[in-house]
Every structure is written in C-alpha cells, then in structure tokens.
C-alpha cells in the first residue's frame, strides 16, 4: 500500500511539473465549450476550474500566491494569475486527497495543532504538487497563522514573500501604514514582472461583481428563499476571492443570479440560519443533517462584502481600506455587530459556526459571540471539528449537536 501511495504521489508530482502537458487542456476546454453551448452553473464552474488549472500549471503568466484576504484586484491588475492555497486545499479535501499533504507536513514538523488549511498548504508545497509560485503576497489582517504559513512557503519555494502588516485597530495612521506597504509591494511586483497595474479594468470588474452579489443577497432576504443544498455557497469561494476583479467572477455571478432567480421558493417551513466561518470540505454528512432537520442557510459570513467600492483615482488607499476592512471578521466588536445586522436583515432564527480546530482568532471570540447573540435572542450553535482534517470529524457528535439545536429553535 505504501509503495502504491508513494508511486501515485511521484507520478502526480511528475505531471504537475510538466508545463507543456497542461497546454493540452486547451483542447479539452474547446471541446467542452462546443459540447455545452449554454452551460448550466456546475458546468460553468467546471470549465472555469479547468481553465484555471491550465493557466496555473502551464505558467502562461506569472503566478502569484496570495493569502485569503489579500485583495485579488491587485494581482488581476498586474496581469498575473492568482493562486489562493487556502482555498485550493478545500478542493484537495473535497477530492478526499487531504491526508497525504497533512501527513507529509506533520512528518516535516508542522504540528497538527496548526490550522489545517495551512498545514495542508505546506504539505502540498513540500510535495511540489501545487503550481510553482513566482511570488508570495499575504496580509496579517485575519490571523497570525497566515504569516507563519506564508513565511514557511517562502522557505519551501525559495522565493520572496511580501507580507503586509495590518494593525489591529483601524485608525487613519493604520490606513496610511498599509497603503505605504502596498506602494512598496506594487513597485517590487512591477519591477519583478516588468508590468503595469491596470487598476481601472480590475476595479470596475470588482465593483460591478459586488453589485451582482448584492442582488443575490436581496434574493436571499426573501422569506422562503434559501440556496440549496445548505452551505453550497461556500463552494463558490474562489469567485468571491480569487477571481474577484476578473471577467470570470463577474460572469459566474451573473449566471448564479440567473440560476437563483429561476428557483421556486420553498413551500415548506425551514429554519433560517446565518453560517459563520467556513465548513468541512471533505466528504461528510453535514449537508444531509442540515436538510434532515430543515435548516436553511440564508447568509454566509465568508460570502459577505465587507469593504467599500474601490476607487480608481486613489487605488492604493482604496485597497488599504479594503484590507483593513477585513477586520470586520476578526475584531469581535465589529464582527458581532455585523452578524446581528444580518440576523435582522435576513430574518434569521439562529446562527451556526463550524469551528476550525487550529483557528485561534475565531475560537478566541466564541465566548463574546455566543454571549452577545444569545442576549439578543439568537440561539448559537458552535460545532467543533476541522474543515480539512477529517481526523477531527465525528458524525454522531455532529448529529447530536444539530438535533439539540433544532430542539432549541423549536422550543
């Protein structure tokens, strides 16, 4: 068995490093386009994934790896290809492949107490299965683990990492500080890749995509409306992050909106829930359990727009504000206020958060979150587990907790 695994990994590594092979995917893409002249949403998503895989592995343009909350508009404006390892490990887990990188990272002294998004990203890099980066960019706005993760990636791939240090408190000085760091990073990217930043295209696409996302939000506010299956929207994270500021994201959300507008409202009663943080991406029974108990997710925290429209006239200041705004998800005072606002706007019955084992920043505010929301009359369910590492998954425990929560909601 061990021999088979190592052979499979060696083969995967061999193919992952053959740029020319990935050019051949272009033929497959043409065939898909012909076969599906009017593709449905999953087909659109599939075709975009194939295109991205081809671009990333064939290295047709510089590949820039980025942390989740680094504004992708910068990478699109530079004409580079963005790659978000934290998002991609979700796909790795969905394919049931996550235990290889996780184990490999652990063998290389990356403790299993570290965030598994990062641990799997390190493992995939050590195994050289991810597309080789030309440059790394990250912000510390969401969690401190991101910095450690990207510093490790820089060490593994032997390339520079541009880290944006984001202060915890939002002040005018903090915005200037982040803006000046962005200025230095964009200069370095510009000289490294000999490129200009086309802010207008990228910002305009980003802003217009956000408008469509707001239309989707308006639909979700309707009393009998919920995206099915529950938590499905979190599978579309790449379009909220990695592709934002590119035509792909705008196209996807246009089609997503069309798709949602065609859906008939649910006639049966369901419990309207706000979903916080992310979800387990490996194959699991969560969705089935939510459906079984008539839970519908009416809004997801990670699909929320937390920033103001980007301004082409002052691009770096605008992006600095966007980076700092991501603290709407990490500073308890701001985060909880937003959640309460969603509870009201989306007429939610309660809130669920699926805790991530290694995520100190989100778990560290669980007490404040639960206390405040419950005081305002919104029941909160905090599920323990891990989004990537299946070792921490227990279906029976999950079932018991969800059923108990149903009793609270109906009680």
């Amino acid at each position: 068995m061990k021999l088979k695994t190592s052979t499979a990994l060696s083969l995967a590594r061999f193919f992952a490093n053959r740029k020319s092979l990935f050019h051949l995917l272009g033929i497959y893409e043409c065939w898909l386009k012909k076969k599906f002249p009017e593709p449905n949403l999953p087909q659109i998503s599939y075709q975009l994934t194939i295109k991205t895989v081809r671009e990333l592995y064939s290295h047709s343009r510089p590949v820039i790896w980025s942390s989740l909350f680094f504004p992708c508009e910068i990478i699109h404006a530079a004409g580079a290809i963005p790659f978000y390892p934290e998002i991609t490990v979700g796909l790795v887990a969905a394919l049931g492949f996550q235990h290889f990188p996780l184990e490999f990272a652990e063998k290389n002294w990356y403790s299993q107490d570290l965030c598994s998004y990062h641990r799997a990203g390190v493992g995939m890099s050590l195994l050289k299965l991810f597309p080789r980066p030309d440059c790394l960019v990250a912000t510390t706005s969401i969690c401190r683990g991101t910095a450690g993760f990207f510093q490790s990636l820089a060490d593994i791939w032997k390339i520079p990492c541009f880290l944006i240090d984001v202060p915890y408190q939002t002040t005018s000085e903090a915005i200037i500080y982040v803006k000046n760091q962005l200025s230095s990073i964009t200069s370095q990217i510009s000289s490294q890749f000999n490129c200009q930043f086309h802010w207008e295209d990228s910002f305009s696409l980003s802003n217009s995509t956000v408008k469509i996302i707001h239309q989707i939000e308006a639909l979700r506010k309707q009393k009998n409306f919920a995206i099915q299956p529950p938590t499905k929207n979190l599978d579309y994270l790449p379009y909220y992050f990695q592709f934002l500021g590119s035509p792909s994201s705008k196209f996807f959300f246009e089609k997503f909106l069309e798709h949602l507008q065609k859906i008939e409202n649910r006639s049966n009663k369901f419990h309207r829930l706000i979903w916080l943080h992310l979800k387990p991406f490996y194959p699991n029974q969560l969705t089935a359990l939510l459906n079984e108990n008539h839970f519908g997710v009416v809004y997801d925290e990670f699909a929320s727009i937390f920033w103001e429209p980007l301004e082409t006239e002052k691009p770096l200041e605008s992006l600095a504000k966007k980076i700092i705004s991501s603290q709407n998800l990490t500073v308890p005072e701001k985060r909880i206020l937003r959640i309460l606002d969603w509870c009201e706007q989306f007429q939610a019955d309660g809130v669920i958060q699926f805790n991530q084992w290694g995520c100190r920043q989100s778990q560290g505010m669980n007490f404040l979150l639960k206390k405040t929301l419950q005081q305002k009359g919104y029941p909160v369910l905090l599920l323990d587990g891990d989004h990537i590492d299946k070792k921490f998954y227990s279906e029976e425990q999950l079932r018991t907790r969800i059923e108990a929560f149903l009793e609270i909601l109906e009680g």
Binding site: W109, R144, A147, R360, F367
Partner: protein, 323 residues
C-alpha cells in the same frame, strides 16, 4: 503607578519615563480555572493563565496593563479582558511583524500613542517625559550593551539573565567543562524550573526564553544621546532585539546560529507551549535549518508531564554525550 506588560517588544523605558513602575507579568500559580469559560480549549496556555490572574485579582496592585504582540491569542486576550470590564485601564500596542522603514515609523507612532495615554494618567508633561527618557536611555544602553556582549560571549549561563546579571562571571563553575552546553528556547512559563532541571542533568544552559534572551539581549544595539528617543526605542525593540518566534524568522535564525557557533553549543531544548502558532512554525523552521540536535518538549499548563520530560532529557543527554 504599576504598569503590567508581558510582551518583550514593549519598551519598559517608556513606562519608567512616565514615573511609573514596569511590572513584567509571568504569573504564578499556573491556574486557569477562572479563564476556562472565556477562552477555548485549543488556546495559548499563557493567555489563559494571565486572564485567570486578572479575573481573580491576583494582579490587584496593577494600575494599567499593556497588551501587545501580534499573535491571535494576545489580541483575543485583550478583547475578552475589555469585554469583561475589569477595573484596570489598558492599552493594546501593535507590534509590527515586518522590519522596514514603514514599520519602524508606525511603531514609533504606536509608542507615542502609548506614551500619551500614560502621561495623561500620570499628569506628567511631555517635556518632563523626554528628559526622563533621555536619562533612562543613557543608563539602559550601557546595561543592554554590557549584558548582550556578555551573553553572546557565553558568560551568562543558567539563570544569570533572570537574576539581572550584566557582567562576565568571574569564575566559571569548575565542573562546567564536563557539562554539555545547550540553548533553551522557551516562552514565559516554567523557565526557571526547566533551567534547574537541565542543570541537575549536567547541562550548561543558555536561556533563550521570552524572559531571558528574547527580553534582555540586543546584539547590535546602537545609541546616540542626541537622536530622537522614541526613534531609538523603536530601533532597539523592533530591529536590534533578538526576535521572538515568527518575527523575522531569517534574522532570528542568523542570531541563534551565530550564538550556537560562537559558544559551541551542542544541542537545543525547545520547551514550547501547546497551541502557540508562532512557536510551532518556529520549531519546524529551526529544525530544518539548525544542524545540531533539537529536543522538542511540549507543555500545557502543568507539571503533569514532568516524568516524561525527565526521561526525554536523559535520552537527549546520552545522544549529545555520544557525539
């Protein structure tokens, strides 16, 4: 006024110059009972111990607390502390994770903010503060320089840093030649006990912990009496200090490597708290790049693993002796 702080990047000179007394927090006993409802299980043990001590008013002699650092646990400790509305006023000081001109400027600005807060509490003028700070820096520079030079030459082993020694020891322990020299990397907790345990096991220990090397050693410290004093402090603490795990890993590696080579250290004991992300990344980084044996010892908040630590330390001693 007693000002409590625990982050090694917070310059105590600022507190002293505001006519206040700096109190470096590393509380005993190591209890977390009162903090348990407020912080999750997989969370920094030191934060839990600190919160416990704040909630049980073990620190009732504190008049002000400075929270700091850049780790998620430090930030959440601050958030929970202010939400629980304990009576002690506090401040969060952002410590930049990167070292460059911009971060120095921002750190200067943050130090200035902290100063203004302390001055308003103390009713002290800016002019008096600057005068105080200049005098304190004159003295502090000599202490830091002497101590750093002595430590980097290998003259301050064991708990010398914890005892505040700055000079070369006149005569080394006569048995030191038979001892195995090692570097102890650790955070705030158990440091004195683990040094004692390692010395009992015939190790000569150099204290690279948060309450030793990371707090007191500034290898390339520079000073000019005529420079802006806050510029000097920003430079000392952000650039010249031995970096903590996660802050400038490359520079931290260079300093540790230089120290290991100069003293001829034979091994590293890395005594680290569970659920500390910076330390966990630092451990994998050092393990990869430092080519001397490294013994990782994980702890939570108790001595419950003491027997296991002893066994592993004995085995490590044998490995090093056989080299």
């Amino acid at each position: 006024m007693n000002v409590g702080y625990y982050c090694t990047y917070i310059p105590e000179e600022i507190i002293q110059s505001c006519n206040a007394t700096p109190v470096f927090l590393h509380p005993e006993p190591l209890s977390t009972n009162h903090a348990i409802p407020y912080l999750p299980t997989p969370f920094c043990p030191f934060s839990k111990i600190l919160l416990n001590s704040f909630l049980t008013e073990k620190n009732q002699d504190l008049d002000f607390i400075i929270f700091g650092g850049c780790c998620d646990a430090g930030k959440k400790l601050y958030d929970v502390f202010i939400a629980l509305q304990t009576k002690i006023p506090c401040h969060y000081l952002h410590i930049p994770l990167v070292n460059n001109h911009e971060s120095l400027k921002f750190f200067h600005h943050s130090l200035n903010d902290l100063t203004q807060k302390l001055l308003s509490l103390q009713g002290l003028s800016q002019q008096n503060f600057i005068e105080n700070l200049r005098n304190i820096l004159d003295h502090s520079f000599i202490v830091k320089q002497t101590q750093s030079q002595a430590f980097m030459k290998g003259a301050l082993s064991g708990n010398s840093l914890l005892q505040g020694k700055t000079q070369l020891q006149s005569s080394l322990d006569s048995t030191s030649s038979s001892k195995v020299s090692i570097l102890l990397l650790a955070s705030h907790l158990f440091v004195e006990n683990i040094i004692q345990l390692l010395e009992e096991k015939e190790f000569r220990v150099f204290d690279g912990s948060a309450i030793g090397m990371r707090r007191y050693i500034f290898p390339e410290i520079e000073y000019s009496h005529h420079s802006d004093p806050l510029d000097i402090l920003s430079q000392w603490y952000l650039i010249n200090k031995v970096p903590c795990p996660g802050y400038n890993p490359q520079k931290r590696l260079e300093i540790l490597q230089k120290f290991i080579n100069r003293i001829g250290l034979q091994g590293i004991v890395y005594f680290y708290p569970k659920f500390c992300d910076q330390t966990l990344y630092d451990l994998s980084f050092l393990k990869k790049h430092i080519k001397i044996p490294l013994l990782p010892l994980e702890h939570d908040m108790s001595y419950s693993s003491l027997g296991q630590w002893e066994t592993r330390i004995d085995a490590f001693r044998e490995v090093l002796s056989n080299q």
